[in-house]
């Protein structure tokens, strides 16, 4: 066999990427090594997957095996979503690439003292102030719930949106009122990016600290840190304009706010910072550990990318 002509594909860091792209209709396939969406008439649109953190596939899209393989090799998270980004299923970038980080995250979550410290750090980052001392995780969760409801009310008033309560039925998309729908599609974007970042950093989306028991518990934890400085104001601002196409407007506005806040640059360092607050060290290799027979290839991507 002859040598391959091009160098092997490697993922690039999350911080150098565009946040999110949505594909609604068409066949996702690989042509000449490029990721393309082909529509009914045969028009090909190249998607620069290597430069996108996550790709949302909405109903109406079909994906070939080669396309999934290519997305995974360049480290682009594929998320299959329902109407307007209410998330159903995901794959494309397998998680758990780094045993040391998984063990570290699990150890933090299992150790009560460490978990409380992590939760306090999340609280502090989110509300920009230290939480009251000597509170349990449960009590902090209660305080958080109250503050979040207040912040929704406050922001709704600020943007002139009539707001009753955060409610959504994930089985029935059209059911919510406009502000809730805007919020749902805005948070869906944020969750996608957060999950991509968590996987890219080598952590597990399911091991949460405030949230537990869901496949994306840690995604919700991390997304909540950024939620009120990014997507919630955006969703209310769009909802206040009574748009004809709320989802599209929300996405445009989300993209803008992600760029302004430099979210993709901040998100992995924030994950590290939050976990470091637990005060535990990364686990060292145990003494009888044998290094892998085939050494890992060098990568320019993030720690969790399988370069």
């Amino acid at each position: 066999m002859s040598q391959p002509i091009l160098p092997p594909l490697k993922p690039i860091p999350i911080k150098d990427r565009v946040s999110v792209l949505f594909v609604e209709k068409g066949n996702l396939d690989v042509l000449d090594g490029a990721f393309v969406v082909v529509d009914k008439r045969g028009t090909r649109t190249h998607i620069p997957v290597g430069g996108v953190a996550c790709l949302m596939l909405e109903p109406g899209s079909r994906v070939s095996h080669a396309a999934v393989a290519l997305a995974s090799r360049v480290g682009c998270l594929l998320l299959w979503t329902g109407d307007s980004g209410v998330r159903l299923y995901s794959a494309g970038q397998p998680g758990g690439a780094r045993a040391d980080r998984l063990l570290y995250q699990a150890r933090l979550a299992l150790d009560d003292a460490a978990r409380l410290k992590v939760v306090r750090k999340m609280y502090a980052m989110r509300f920009k102030e230290e939480p009251p001392a000597r509170r349990s995780v449960d009590q902090l969760r209660g305080i958080e719930g109250v503050r979040v409801r207040k912040m929704y009310e406050l922001l709704a008033k600020q943007y002139g949106v009539s707001w009753k309560v955060r409610n959504y039925d994930h089985t029935n998309w059209g059911s919510g009122d406009i502000p809730n729908r805007c919020l749902s599609s805005a948070t869906a974007c944020l969750y996608g990016i957060s999950e991509a970042a968590i996987l890219a950093a080598g952590y597990a989306p399911a091991i949460g600290f405030i949230h537990t028991g869901k496949p994306q518990s840690f995604v919700y934890d991390i997304a909540d840190i950024f939620k009120f400085e990014t997507v919630v104001p955006v969703a209310f601002r769009v909802a206040a304009k009574k748009p004809r196409d709320p989802e599209r407007d929300v996405r445009l506005a989300c993209r803008e706010v992600f760029r302004q806040t430099r979210l993709l640059r901040k998100i992995i360092p924030t994950i590290e910072e939050v976990l470091a607050a637990g005060g535990l060290n990364m686990p060292e290799a145990h003494p009888e550990a044998v290094t892998p027979a085939i050494p890992n290839k060098e990568s320019i991507g993030d720690a969790g990318h399988r370069g």
Binding site: L21, V23, R44, T45, H46, R259
Partner: protein, 105 residues
């Protein structure tokens, strides 16, 4: 950073563009200019392109970090996807016998 690619452009336009930009390959011009100069150069392209077609890309502070615009017909047309500009490549049409623009890809 500014990149202009022209196809099938009259020589006078190509010469004109070479006044401000560096022609690194046939019809491919590169430079770094301000927004006003960019608009002035694009006005030159608009006036001089004749039957050809042109594309201009430049760095901005959009999320992808650049933007582009086109002039004239080409099988590649700009496509917008929720705030990110991509390019759609039309399938071969009957009346078109234009050569594939390999130089630009």
């Amino acid at each position: 950073m500014l990149v202009i690619v022209v196809e099938n452009a009259p020589p006078r336009l190509r010469g004109r563009l070479a006044l401000w930009l560096l022609e690194v390959r046939a019809g491919v011009y590169v430079g770094k200019v301000s927004r006003r100069v960019r608009e002035m150069i694009w006005a030159n392209v608009e006036d001089g392109i004749d039957q050809g077609n042109a594309v201009m890309a430049w760095t901005t502070n959009t999320e992808s970090g650049f933007d582009f615009q086109t002039l004239g017909t080409n099988r590649r047309i700009p496509a917008e996807m929720d705030g990110i500009k991509l390019v759609s490549f039309l399938p071969e049409a009957k009346e078109e016998s234009e050569q594939d623009d390999n130089a630009t890809t």
